[in-house]
């Protein structure tokens, strides 16, 4: 099989992994090396695929041969699909040649379990070592740590990659047991803990010795599949929160389950991927990471799933109308962040601008506040937006209408099931 065909098979097999970002890493240009990773916070998208997703890295599997039999996966042992494998040399060459042409920011290397986790990881290490040592590649590398791999191998992988990830995929142990019989919760969590510990040690060493080798400097991430099992949003969000709190993860990715296989325990093949739900989870995830929200504020035992009609922040605001209106000239940063339509950037701009003089309603739009949403929840110098009259119901309608054009097409279609007229 030639490289073009291999690339086709192994890209097709890798495309359901949502993680594709180069954020969080910095590698400054080094003499004699090619590349750098300089994207500070926002990752660098090199293109957007037809589904509108950002493409940053060459995302492929080393091989889609797999000895495991995870029910939800196209590459599972029992599935009849075309198999291929890159040699480490082929993949290193592709990466470098794509990188030189600025097609990509680096490599995202994942793999099916070929023979055993250790054997597969050794192949991955060979490819990455080739890139780093022979080609002197200084760009971004994200590598998958396969559950069950020997700690020494995870260790070596971590010194070659910028980011490591272990995919949890199924948000609960029950799901894991029924759908991924070869994997256990323990086998997934062990490398996550190891990566966290090594990463912390390496940071400490770096403080002492400037040239200490860096272990996965961009940290680790994971992915959760949404919609393959019956787990609720509340369950998923609390799991996420625990991963941020206790495992120091940089990102949790959510992947709306695309039914690729027929199985009694899985949604039927004609079920559409729950894109709107995935979207809401990303919004909530954002609130956990940057807005100081806790999972328990957004959902609880009584309300276990997100309102599909409005985003989680608006939803929280509507349930806490007594918190508002917030006066932008005096409120603390954390309080500003609670206003729908005020983001991290606009909150900072408000802080900076109000030191020069008192702010009025007509300043706010220029500071980046989305007034369509924010107007119901704030005052500036004691005044609300002029002529604004509303009831809780009309606020809800206004918020739904304000978000609709921003939603990706399909989400908007799913949402139109809840026509604002019906909710009035």
């Amino acid at each position: 099989m030639d490289v073009l065909e291999k690339l086709t098979v192994l890209t097709d097999a890798a495309k359901y992994d949502a993680a594709c970002t180069s954020s969080g890493g910095t590698r400054t240009a080094k003499k004699g090396y090619i590349g750098n990773t300089s994207t500070a916070s926002a990752g660098c998208c090199h293109t957007f695929s037809a589904d509108g997703r950002c493409v940053t890295l060459l995302k492929v599997l080393l091989t889609n041969r797999c000895v495991y039999d995870c029910k939800y996966c196209v590459n599972r042992r029992s599935n009849d699909t075309r198999r291929a494998a890159f040699t480490p040399e082929e993949l290193a060459d592709l990466t470098i040649q794509f990188y030189r042409r600025n097609y990509i920011e680096g490599l995202f290397l994942s793999s099916g379990v070929f023979r055993s986790p250790d054997y597969t990881t050794e192949l991955m290490i060979r490819c990455l070592a080739l890139l780093r040592e022979q080609y002197r590649f200084n760009g971004y590398i994200h590598a998958k740590a396969i559950p069950g791999t020997a700690p020494e191998l995870v260790e070596r992988l971590g010194f070659l990659a910028d980011r490591l990830s272990v995919n949890i995929e199924l948000p609960s142990e029950a799901g894991l047991n029924s759908l991924a019989p070869d994997k256990t919760k323990g086998a997934i969590l062990a490398p996550m803990r190891q990566i966290q510990t090594r990463n912390r040690q390496s940071r400490e060493e770096l403080v002492k010795y400037r040239h200490a080798p860096r272990f996965a400097p961009a940290g680790q991430s994971t992915q959760l599949i949404v919609g393959a099992t019956r787990d609720t949003d509340f369950h998923i969000l609390r799991l996420t929160q625990g991963l941020y709190d206790r495992y120091g993860l940089k990102r949790v990715f959510y992947s709306a389950y695309v039914p690729v296989v027929e199985h009694a325990l899985l949604p039927a093949k004609d079920v559409k991927p729950p894109l709107l739900r995935e979207h809401r989870l990303y919004q909530a995830d954002w609130l956990l990471r940057f807005y100081g929200f806790r999972a328990e504020e957004l959902l609880d035992e009584g309300t276990q799933d997100f309102d599909t009609r409005v985003d989680p922040k608006c939803s929280w605001a509507l349930a806490h109308l007594d918190f508002f209106p917030v006066e932008v000239n005096t409120a603390a940063y954390e309080t500003l962040l609670r206003i729908p339509g005020v983001g991290v950037t606009s909150a900072r701009r408000i802080l900076s601008a109000r030191r020069v003089g008192p702010l009025h309603i007509d300043n706010l739009k220029k500071l980046g506040v989305v007034m369509k949403r924010a107007q119901y929840f704030l005052t500036a110098s004691g005044k609300m937006a002029e002529g604004l009259r509303f009831t809780p119901d009309s606020v809800l309608r206004g918020l739904i209408a304000a978000e609709r054009p921003l939603l990706p097409q399909q989400e908007a279609v799913q949402l139109s099931l809840f026509d604002p007229a019906e909710t009035a």
Partner: protein, 284 residues
Amino acid sequence: MDVIYHYDGSFEGFLSCVFDSYAHKEIPAGFCSGEDGVFSLFNSRTVLTDPDHAARVLQKVAALSPEAAVLLRRGFLTCLSEKELHLFQVVAKLLREGPGFLRNRSDETLYPVIRAVQHLNGEVHLLKGFVRFSDLGGVLGGEIEPKNRVLPVLGGHFSARFHNERFFLYDRTHKEALFHVPGQSVIRPLADFQMAPPDKTEARYRLLWKRFYDTIAIKERENPRLRMSNMPKRYWGTMTEFQGAEHFIPRTSPGAVSGPGAPAGISAPGTPPPPGPSAPGSGP
């Protein structure tokens, strides 16, 4: 007295105008660069670029606010209409009132400039990803078609990333190109430029990339509108994955490879293609 300044269009030239307006106590009504004399009711005057004057203005601005100096530099690269007048007003306000207003983004003098610079920065950010290079016999070459003059900013990024490579990047809109050889980068005007067709190896990597691009999309999630809003169509013209079939067909005749594609300053990619059977005419 209001006056229109004619100047050479350079940043230093603009700063020289600012210097003159203070030296002569004139209020600029407009700025004009290039040949086309504009008919106007205002007096007009030609200002010669004076590096010393320019440096004094910039020093004065930087002393009051280093951020303002950066804003001025960046602002001058934007496609904001009447950018000189807007920038002049920022300088005038800075000299009049001090740097306080710079902290208030919604300030009416500052806002248009900040917006324009943001537009420039946004374009730079996107282009860091969207630029495509071709390997022309060892020299990398690429083209862009930006609204703002992004090369001075973008150039730094690629010169660091590919510092061992030899490359050029041509700006179709502003007809200038960045040239880089290890240890050195320059931007030079370049009136016309035609990219050489790919050799066999180049055509192959283009095809591999196109295949990757087409395969990575998830059919069940197709969303053209989202793609378009993330990546406006005006960028597609220079991106490999959106080119027609001929972009992926190698031309193996040496004449075609080292044609007018090699810009001045970097030797033509002269390596003749390897002998062998004529290239397969495989499109994407």
